[in-house]
């Protein structure tokens, strides 16, 4: 039982009101007829499965019934941000890696250290994204 911030309702709501809908930011090919079978198959069936930062599509199923995006850490399950459809995330694996390099250790609201962890963890995040 935890709360998720709905960017449309503009408040934290109970987790049971939400459903996950898989990876976000998957662009449909502009010309499906011009796709090769492999490209079309990748678009339809293949999804990233990173260890670390993942951008996901969720729906506030009981509530405003709007789809929105969540940036979530797949190992710690921590939700780093939520943002509306059509917007771009402000936190990505790359942005976190840059901060790590600059020597900033970000501390989450709860006082938990969330990013700027070990180099090994960072490498695995990068590897998954790359």
């Amino acid at each position: 039982m935890f709360h998720i911030y709905c960017p449309y309702c503009e408040e934290h709501r109970e987790e049971e009101e939400f459903h996950p809908k898989g990876q976000a930011h998957i662009a449909r090919p502009a010309e499906p007829e011009a796709c090769s079978d492999e490209e079309w198959g990748d678009y339809l069936f293949f999804r990233d499965n990173p260890r670390g930062i993942h951008h996901e599509l969720w729906v506030h199923a009981i509530g405003c019934r709007k789809f929105f995006n969540i940036t979530r850490h797949t190992a710690s399950y921590e939700i780093l941000e939520t943002y509306k459809m059509g917007e771009q995330p402000t936190i990505t694996a790359e942005s976190l890696a840059r901060e790590e390099k600059a020597g900033h250790v970000q501390v989450a609201e709860g006082g938990q250290q969330t990013v700027g962890a070990s180099d090994a963890a960072l490498a695995s995040v990068k590897g998954a994204q790359g």
């Binding site: 309702c9 503009e10 408040e11 709501r13 049971e16 009101e17 509530g63 405003c64 019934r65 709007k66």
Partner: protein
């Protein structure tokens, strides 16, 4: 004028209609207790309309026809002076309008006229849901047992309305006045919610006003 075909769901000649709670009342006589902590009252056969479209376009039409400003902030509820007609925010492009019985068809026609060729949708959902009013000194205690949403007066002031999980169903929970809460319940969940409310309110003493 849009070219959508309208039809009056409440035709002349007054054919018989049953509220979603008719069966519940028939099966078990509604309890009546003197000095009950919680009072339930069903407001059956109200006109419920779901408006969808852009806030600016709809706001103009609703102001003109109903005299109520469309609530633009999330989770808000706007009522007219008499408290009989209300417009509630459901989603960034969706509002629920509740008006007294019999007004919904005229309202729908007038809204369609005012909106003209704008991009919008109006659906009459009057038959699909009912409104249960919850009042009494212990009404909030019953809600606290039934929903995970924070119903403390600080978090849930008068004029707020949200769609939430209630028991194992979903309802629209709203607070039109200081002393009353309203549940907009779907027809198919009505009996379940009603029996849940009777059970949950049993310890405070419950009375069903009809």
């Amino acid at each position: 004028m849009s070219d959508v075909r309208e039809f009056d769901t409440r035709p002349a000649g007054h054919p018989s209609a049953e509220s979603p709670l008719a069966w519940s009342f028939h099966r078990q006589a509604p309890p009546r207790e003197a000095g009950a902590g919680v009072t339930l009252r069903e407001h059956a056969f109200l006109g419920h309309l779901v408006l969808r479209g852009g806030a600016i376009v709809l706001d103009e039409a609703v102001r003109e026809v109903l005299g109520i400003a469309l609530p633009a902030r999330p989770n808000t509820l706007a009522l007219d002076d008499g408290g009989e007609r209300s417009v509630q925010w459901l989603a960034p492009d969706e509002w629920l309008v509740i008006v007294p019985a019999g007004e919904e068809f005229t309202l729908e026609s007038r809204l369609r006229q005012a909106l003209g060729q704008a991009h919008f949708s109006i659906v009459n959902v009057s038959g699909g849901q009912t409104l249960i009013e919850l009042s009494g000194p212990q009404a909030r205690e019953v809600l606290m047992k039934s929903t995970t949403y924070d119903v403390h007066p600080q978090a849930f002031p008068v004029g707020k309305g949200v769609t939430v999980v209630f028991a194992k169903a979903s309802v629209v929970l709203r607070r039109p006045r200081e002393d009353a809460w309203e549940l907009v319940v779907r027809r198919s969940f009505a009996d379940y919610c009603y029996r849940w409310l009777l059970d949950a309110a049993g310890e405070y003493g419950v009375s069903v006003a009809r």
